[in-house]
């Protein structure tokens, strides 16, 4: 497949690995956070972690919308799904995430709730059109990559006068989460030592590379926006290593074939038209962050599930043994969690990091058990 296979060339990978090893040699460590869950998945899927020299440590970030969705939001979705007359449309990713008392959308479905798995927002809208007797609610999760697709269908529903459709908006914003990682004032959880970021490539097709410039400028952290193929990731790691060696601190774009500095103006405008910032939003593992999530604007209130159905949001604490929060903040590795692989496994997940294919824990469990490299949080090994 064009523009995919070329970026998976094993020979180029080996040479890139050698180049990274050559340039990373020396007295310093390179603590790089790959923000996005898709990148975490790719690192393990292609065995990239094993190919990196010991000086380079990849810290897994919170860029997995399934992982950072607080249990309370999922409870809202489950409550809606249980409401008579409601059909809840959801992405497959959310279906097995455990809510309170190990409830989940999958279990609710087994108990009779009308829950449909959809590939995209347009499928949910189509369902609403085809089933006028049902109240269709689309569980709209995701970072900026996914938000424009929700905006499009809300607008379309409004234009076509489709009354039996609404969205439960839980779209979150990348720069806010990156800020929380860096320990900005007001962000929960403090900060951890991160030297640079591998930026999320597909989020950046929408928002551009410009929003990361403040991290380089004000926090002294270089950012390289990376594509998702393994060679993209390796090249981006090399670019970060070079920046750190040369004392540069810039935003570079490795994913130029899909990302431009200004992003996708049309998509940004559509999102702006349909959504507005929530003053505060609770993130799993990161606490409540200001200006970090979106809600539907008043003008489109008729298509906002939160307004149409009064389902109050109730914060639900994570399971006490679950270390998802610290893992999402990069403070712990999955293997540091007391219940990793024992009480918490893909078959019986306790936290969302184990359910989501992009979650650190799931990735470690699936791919990482082979790894001899398990650096401890203090940076040793």
């Amino acid at each position: 497949m064009k523009y995919i296979d070329e970026f998976r060339d094993g020979d180029v990978a080996r040479r890139l690995a050698a180049q990274i090893a050559k340039e990373a040699r020396g007295a310093r460590r390179y603590r790089l956070m790959e923000f996005c869950g898709g990148h975490t998945h790719a690192l393990w899927r292609y065995g990239i972690v094993e190919m990196l020299p010991p000086e380079v440590e990849m810290i897994h970030g919170p860029g997995c919308p399934v992982c950072v969705l607080p249990i309370g939001r999922l409870e809202q979705a489950i409550a809606l799904a249980r409401t008579p007359g409601v059909t809840l449309c959801t992405f497959g990713d959310m279906v097995r995430v455990p809510a309170r008392d190990r409830r989940s959308l999958l279990k609710a479905k087994a108990e009779g709730a009308d829950i449909r798995i959809v590939y995209g927002s347009a499928d949910a809208l189509r369902l609403a059109r085809e089933s006028p007797a049902r109240e269709v609610v689309f569980f709209a999760i995701g970072f900026e990559t996914t938000t424009p697709a929700t905006a499009v269908v809300v607008k379309q529903a409004a234009e076509e006068g489709i009354k039996n459709f609404s969205v439960l908006a839980s779209h979150v914003l990348t720069p806010s989460a990156m800020l929380a990682i860096l320990g900005a004032p007001g962000a929960a959880g403090g900060g951890i030592q991160v030297d640079g970021f591998v930026g999320p490539g597909h989020v950046s097709t929408i928002i551009g590379s410009q929003p990361y410039e403040r991290f380089a400028r004000d926090y002294g952290k270089p950012v390289v926006v990376a594509g998702f193929e393994p060679l993209d990731l390796m090249q981006s790691i090399l670019m970060l290593v070079r920046q750190l060696n040369e004392g540069r601190c810039e935003v570079e774009n490795e994913y130029k074939r899909a990302v431009v500095r200004g992003g996708n103006a049309r998509a940004i405008a559509l999102v702006e038209e349909v959504f507005e910032l929530r003053p505060s939003f609770e993130w799993r593992g990161l606490g409540s962050l200001p200006d970090s999530a979106l809600r539907v604007r008043e003008r489109y209130a008729a298509w906002d599930a939160e307004r149409r159905w009064s389902i109050p949001y109730e914060a639900v604490a994570d399971h006490p043994a679950c270390a998802c929060g610290e893992i999402l903040r990069g403070e712990k590795r999955p293997t540091d969690c007391k219940i990793f692989g024992t009480a918490c496994t893909p078959e019986s997940p306790v936290g969302s990091c184990m359910v989501s294919p992009e979650g650190s824990c799931a990735a470690y469990y699936a791919y990482g058990r082979l790894s001899k490299r398990r650096p401890r949080p203090d940076g040793e090994g």
């Binding site: 080996r14 020299p53 992405f91 927002s121 990559t145």
Partner: protein
């Protein structure tokens, strides 16, 4: 996040959608988020929407950069 994949536009439709081909498989996608897409272009597809057009010149440039790395170095092993 963000499972998105480049696919070739093989048909354009009056309602603002397109048919893309990925390895011979065909799928309808919405072009609501991109402008000026032509037949033969590659677009990045996510949940049934094209997010951006892939720039072939930049793709070639990136590939060339990738291929420069490590030439002459021994394998790190």
């Amino acid at each position: 996040m963000c499972l998105a994949i480049p696919a070739e536009v093989v048909a354009l439709h009056a309602d603002g959608s397109a048919t893309v081909s990925l390895g011979g498989l065909r799928k309808a996608v919405s072009l609501a988020l991109v402008e000026g897409v032509a037949l033969g272009d590659y677009v990045i597809v996510h949940t049934g929407f094209a997010l951006s057009r892939l720039d072939p010149a930049e793709a070639e440039a990136t590939l060339a950069l990738l291929r420069e790395a490590g030439v002459g170095l021994e394998d790190a092993g």
